[in-house]
């Protein structure tokens, strides 16, 4: 098997051209490894090699972002590599940002695996860790040996499109994608250790950092409810009896759209729940307990609302990934809008 072809991106400093005073040199392509590439080649032996190195000044890249990116992309493309490595940048801020930017550009445009490395506090880390794999390195070039030791084997895995383990196993910065792994100690023992560290003011690492949630501003109120079309949606899994679309009891892969034209009441003879996360008895006895069709039909008759929309949308919230439910809702919200619905009542169990 032939060696994996790698192109590496480094800055003027690591190419030993100069420091800050040379930071404005434009991008340049050299054959073979330069600087850190030698260490990577040594680590890879017969497996892979740096076939070309792109050198670019940090100021040049950041000040001519569009132009520099396009130039570097062309250079990478010209080498037809299997893998692209940027840096490692350690704690050099502009270099880190350049590495993140160009790695992402190569990944997105050339569709080849990419890897970069930098210190966790490098501003490029927060900017790009969700987009590209970034190996956490020490904060200065003195950590090169350590960085190569982590990056070289990981780069091989990426280049070979092997399964990628969890961040703590592979050494990349957590990127928001949760990956399972087997630990050496069971969970309870890890919890006890973590608590002892926390009690003694010693450092500990949470296995799951708490997320922050985004917000959407509220839409204006409904002005004339007596002429408005109201739609019902639910995450309580109300479906026609027998669950004709086989919506899963948990971790659902699709949502249901059901016609309630002329339906005055969700009786037990025709409606039930597919939800596996709560006691289904009450919803199965009377699905209006989850989806209040009966009451809204009355209100429709009385003129409290203009109309109950003749379709409702249903999903199973239980164990269904937030991203899936978001996608379901985004899709049927468009259908509701197209059908002229004015407002929505969503019920959850």
């Amino acid at each position: 098997m032939s060696k994996i072809r790698v192109v590496q991106y480094i800055n003027q400093f690591f190419a030993q051209i100069g420091g800050e005073e040379k930071a404005d040199i434009p991008a340049e392509l050299r054959e073979g490894p330069v600087g850190p590439g030698l260490a990577f080649n040594a680590a890879w032996g017969d497996e892979a090699e740096v076939v070309a190195t792109i050198i670019c000044g940090d100021s040049y890249f950041n000040e001519n972002l569009e132009k520099a990116q396009a130039e570097v992309l062309e250079m990478v493309k010209s080498q037809n590599p299997d893998m692209f490595i940027a840096g490692p940048a350690f704690n050099a801020g502009r270099y880190g940002v350049a590495c993140g930017t160009i790695a992402k550009a190569v990944q997105d445009n050339l569709n080849i695996p990419v890897l970069t490395g930098m210190y966790v506090e490098n501003p490029g880390a927060d900017m790009f860790k969700k987009d590209v794999y970034i190996v956490a390195t020490k904060n200065s070039a003195a950590g090169m040996r350590d960085a190569v030791k982590k990056m070289a084997p990981f780069a091989l895995k990426l280049a070979r499109h092997e399964a990628i383990g969890a961040s703590c196993e592979e050494g990349y910065m957590p990127n928001g994608v949760r990956v399972n792994l087997f630990e050496k100690e069971r969970g309870s023992a890890r919890a006890v250790k973590m608590l002892i560290a926390k009690l003694n003011g010693k450092p500990f690492t949470t296995e799951f950092p708490m997320p922050s949630f985004d917000r959407v501003a509220p839409n204006p109120a409904v002005k004339d409810m007596a002429h408005a079309t109201v739609a019902l949606c639910t995450s309580g899994g109300i479906v026609p009896l027998g669950n004709p679309d086989h919506i899963e009891s948990s971790s659902a892969s699709h949502y249901g759209e059901y016609d309630i034209e002329g339906v005055m009441d969700l009786d037990a003879a025709h409606w039930a729940t597919a939800h596996g996360g709560y006691d289904p008895v009450y919803a199965n006895e009377d699905a209006d307990r989850v989806l209040p069709v009966d009451v809204l039909r009355e209100m429709e008759k009385e003129g409290r609302i203009g109309k109950l929309h003749n379709k409702f949308y249903t999903t199973v919230g239980n164990g269904t990934a937030v991203a899936s439910s978001k996608a379901f809702a985004a899709e049927y919200a468009q259908k509701l809008k197209a059908d002229g619905v004015d407002c929505v009542i969503m019920t959850s169990t």
Binding site: N180, S249, S253, A321
Partner: protein, 428 residues
Amino acid sequence: MKKLELGNILIHDVQFSNEGSKVENGVLYVNKEEICKIALEDENIASCEVFLARPGESVRITPVKDVIEPRVKVEGKGGIFPGWIAKVDTVGEGRTHVLKGAAVVTTGKIVGFQEGIIDMSGPGADYTPFSKTMNVVVKMEPVEGLKQHEHEYALRIAGFKIACFLGELGRNVTPDEVKTYEFDNIVESAAKYPNLPRVAYVQMLQSQGLLHDTYVYGVDAKKTLTTIITPTEVMDGAIVSGNCVSSCDKNPTYVHMNNPVVTDLFEQHGKTLNFVGMIITNENVYLADKERSSNWSAKLAKYLGCDGVIISQEGFGNPDTDLIMNTKKIEAEGIKTVIITDEYAGRDGKSQSLADADPSADAVVTGGNANQVIVLPPMETVYGHLEFVDTIAGGSANNIDAHGNITVEIQAITGATNETGFNYLSAR
């Protein structure tokens, strides 16, 4: 001081026997007729079959209702499973014999949506702790027309009775090892370990309603206020499972009896910490209950003078809120928390893992992402009913291919992402 000795009789094999059931030289001999007779005492159980499943065998058990460890009380007050099999005397003192390495696994026609899979070999075996036990599989079918909750009750009680019957076989056997768990009252322990941080365990019990319940001394946990229990009591079966929530993170009775947070805190007791007690709270479906129960967890943690607590969850979804409420309120009392949970981050791992969140929950142990997909190759033998893998949580329609491979999320595997930290799986 309370003291409980657990005498472990190490079981390294299980065999059928035409004579009476017995334990001899580390082998559990099981007489099928004796087991079935116990199961059929209940008129709601129409039929009973017994199978044996050993680690490494090409065997799949599904749908798994409960897993129970055979134990017997040989000294001290009360008996195993107080409130069900024994009277309600307070347990947790004296001596209890354990058939360590053996387990009763109950199966049969599915009760709820959410019973699991145990594979004794292959990739699925890595994910369930019960691929490592010598399993006495009891398959019971209900009489026609039996309601879900009566069906659940019948299987639950039969499982306990059978586990006690097998446990009884160890009464006069000399244990291979004896583990002693000593537990002082709070005054004694404060005097004994004045310089160690005071730590309690807050266990959240699944109590979402019919088919999602846990019982303490026979009492339905959803009808209880948050309370205190001494940790040795759970070793005698004071807390039992009556629930059918997603099998990956429900606590089978076996896990309650062997609660790993309890054993691992005992391990450190008197060394790095002072294990002052255990608080049990619930996960009810009413908001007021959630508020009240978590208020009480915080109040009791403060009352015990805790410096730190470990909080374990059971289940997912709305109980994530109970978990976050407990954490927030206990941290607000100046008590440090570590929580154990699991994640539903989607098959691609990119989604939000928990339904609720708070910055005070800064020390989290995770049992892994339950949505991870796994392909389970066919097994030579299936005990139970394979047809239900379509409908159990984690399964989906037509998930068995032409070669018999089953594609499921690991949430269908019993104990895969257990939130008491019973398993080794995690995620980053």
